[in-house]
């Protein structure tokens, strides 16, 4: 006989048990993987941090070696995001709120196709098509807007510049960003759109009042996803950029800071000893940068959680 207040064991169903265990394993698995990568990077990078380390003349000390690459990585990615974000929002708005259904579906497929192209192909396209194509534009920018430091300096003759890298990266991250933002825009509750229209909002005002604010966390998430891809991109950058180990904000010159990932790819095969550790240390930096940026994004989203529309 059971009595009220006594400990009653809840019935455990096999299906629930299997599913919850499977989900836990997957969740813990990702943590273990992350920890394993971090531990690997740290242990392998350790020799480079030793003051006695010998980089066979390729670097003075780890900090001065990594700094230009950190700069190049961030700079290229930021240029890419600055180009890709407004475009992605525009594409997503067009697909979700302007295009007719049939056409928007076709457009969606094409965007997905773009996302499936390997980055080495983007790199080849960047070096063989985009760079020569853009070079006249670069010359024009330099001649007419050269007083802006970004466009100053001796224009690269090949078009293999930071701006070309930024544009190639922007095109690479565009599909995933546009697809994610489109999904968020499609989730805008019809009630809120109607509320704006009933107040006498035009279509664009409705988008400003209801769709964009509602989509804000999604836009930030997609930027992080795009940034993550741009930060770690190797092949496209390695192919397009003519690198140097300097910090240079000029977009059009042949003196460009390489990115961490591309630098590792270029130098790892013939590296050894402490220099190899140094390259891995720069990989550790990339890992940390990506993590910090993601945490920052989480923070930005959570700060406005009350106004997100998710409650």
């Amino acid at each position: 006989m059971t009595t009220l207040g006594g400990q009653v064991k809840p019935k455990v169903r096999l299906g629930d048990l299997v599913f919850s265990r499977a989900a836990s394993v997957a969740g813990i698995g990702i943590l273990i993987t992350l920890a394993a990568v971090a531990v690997f990077l740290f242990i392998q990078a350790l020799p480079a941090l030793n003051p006695e380390a010998d980089f066979s003349g390729k670097a003075e000390n780890p900090i001065s070696y990594v700094t230009p690459y950190v700069f190049g990585t961030l700079y290229g990615s930021i240029i890419a995001l600055a180009i890709a974000t407004p475009l992605a929002i525009g594409i997503a708005l067009y697909i979700s709120h302007y295009a007719n259904r049939r056409f928007s579906q076709i457009l969606g497929y094409i965007m997905d196709l773009l996302a499936a192209i390997p980055s080495v192909v983007y790199g080849l396209w960047g070096i063989m098509v985009l760079a020569p194509f853009l070079n006249p534009t670069y010359l024009w920018l330099n001649e007419n807007l050269g007083w802006i430091p970004l466009f100053a300096g001796q224009v690269s003759a090949t078009g293999r510049t930071m701006l070309t890298v930024g544009i190639v990266l922007a095109i690479m991250v565009l599909p995933i960003m546009a697809a994610l933002i489109r999904e968020v825009f499609l989730q805008t509750p019809r009630l809120h759109e109607e509320a704006a229209l009933a107040l006498g909002a035009t279509r664009w005002e409705m988008i400003k009042m209801a769709v964009l604010p509602f989509g804000r966390p999604g836009i930030i998430s997609s930027m992080m996803l795009g940034l993550g891809r741009a930060l770690g991109e190797t092949m496209a950058v390695a192919l397009v950029l003519s690198p140097a180990s300097i910090i240079n904000f000029a977009l059009l010159t042949s003196q460009n800071s390489n990115t961490i990932a591309a630098n590792i790819a270029l130098h790892f095969p013939e590296s050894g000893g402490d220099y190899r550790s140094l390259l891995i240390a720069s990989g550790l930096m990339l890992f940390l940068i990506t993590m910090l940026i993601n945490m920052l994004a989480r923070y930005i989203i959570s700060r406005r959680a009350e106004f997100s529309g998710a409650n």
Binding site: L191, A195, L199, G200, A210, F307, G309
Partner: protein, 259 residues
């Protein structure tokens, strides 16, 4: 301002489908007009033609004439956006903008017309609209909190404040209390009665007690069967509709002997 709305032989179509057929009625200013009838009879569709919100659905259009104080709101040169700025609307489910504070919600309609307003003007308008919606005392200390932090009934009154802040001529309410508890419902009903002092109020309701409690005029709509157009069966003073209707269909519906 409060305007008289006149509908003459109005047909409403969704593409080829005739949703509401041949409606003739005059909606009086400074009064509450209730639309009642079974689901699918076209009363929500009809109320949406009063601010051209039905046009949000592709392929929707009307035939006939619909005038407000003699002005045809469907004339070729009339912009539907302008019509909606004169005709406020409150929806079935409270829909304050979740990304805006209470104050921003109240001012959202006003800001569409006027980009710049001084802080004192904004404060004044916020207070006036919230007082008008019987919400001021409950929210005056937390105007910067999100609109979604309020209870359902408060959210609905916030939506009414947002609608009256732009000083429209007409307020449309599409089942404004169907998602609310009885106490919140009573608050909205009291508010509707106050609003008719200044506005033409049209309310769609499934609640016949509500219609008989607050409305001056009642329109009963019915439908002959699925796929058939909704029709205005009887339109008269509310007492007449509920005590001594001329049509048998109306009597059956208001006395609960429907179907």
């Amino acid at each position: 301002m409060s305007k008289r709305i006149e509908l003459k032989s109005l047909n409403v179509y969704y593409s080829k489908f005739l949703a509401v057929e041949d409606v003739n009625m005059v909606i009086e200013p400074k009064a509450i007009t209730a639309f009642i009838g079974p689901s699918g009879c076209g009363k929500s569709t009809l109320i949406r033609t009063l601010n051209r919100m039905h046009e949000v659905i592709p392929g929707a259009y009307v035939e006939g004439s619909l005038t407000m104080d003699g002005e045809d709101i469907y004339a070729a040169e009339v912009d539907p956006v302008k019509v909606r700025r004169q005709v406020g609307m409150v929806f079935q489910r409270p829909n304050p903008f979740p990304t805006m504070s209470i104050k921003e919600n109240v001012l959202s309609g006003y800001k569409l017309n006027n980009n710049r307003m001084s802080k004192s003007d904004a404060d004044e308008l916020t207070e006036k609209a919230l007082v008008g919606a019987n919400l001021w005392n409950e929210v005056k200390d937390r105007l910067d909190r999100p609109g979604s932090s309020l209870s359902g009934g408060q959210q609905q009154r916030l939506c009414i404040a947002r609608a009256i802040a732009v000083e429209p001529d007409v307020i449309l309410m599409d089942e404004p209390t169907s998602a609310l508890d009885p106490i919140s419902t009573a608050a909205i009903e009291d508010l509707a009665v106050e609003l008719k002092e200044k506005f033409t109020v049209v309310i769609v309701t499934h609640n016949m007690q509500q219609a008989s409690r607050i409305s001056d005029m009642t329109a009963f709509f019915n439908i002959a069967g699925t796929g058939m157009p909704g029709k205005l069966i009887e339109y008269d003073r509310t007492e007449k509709i509920f005590s001594n209707p001329t049509q048998k269909q109306t009597e059956d519906y208001v006395s609960g002997r429907f179907g």
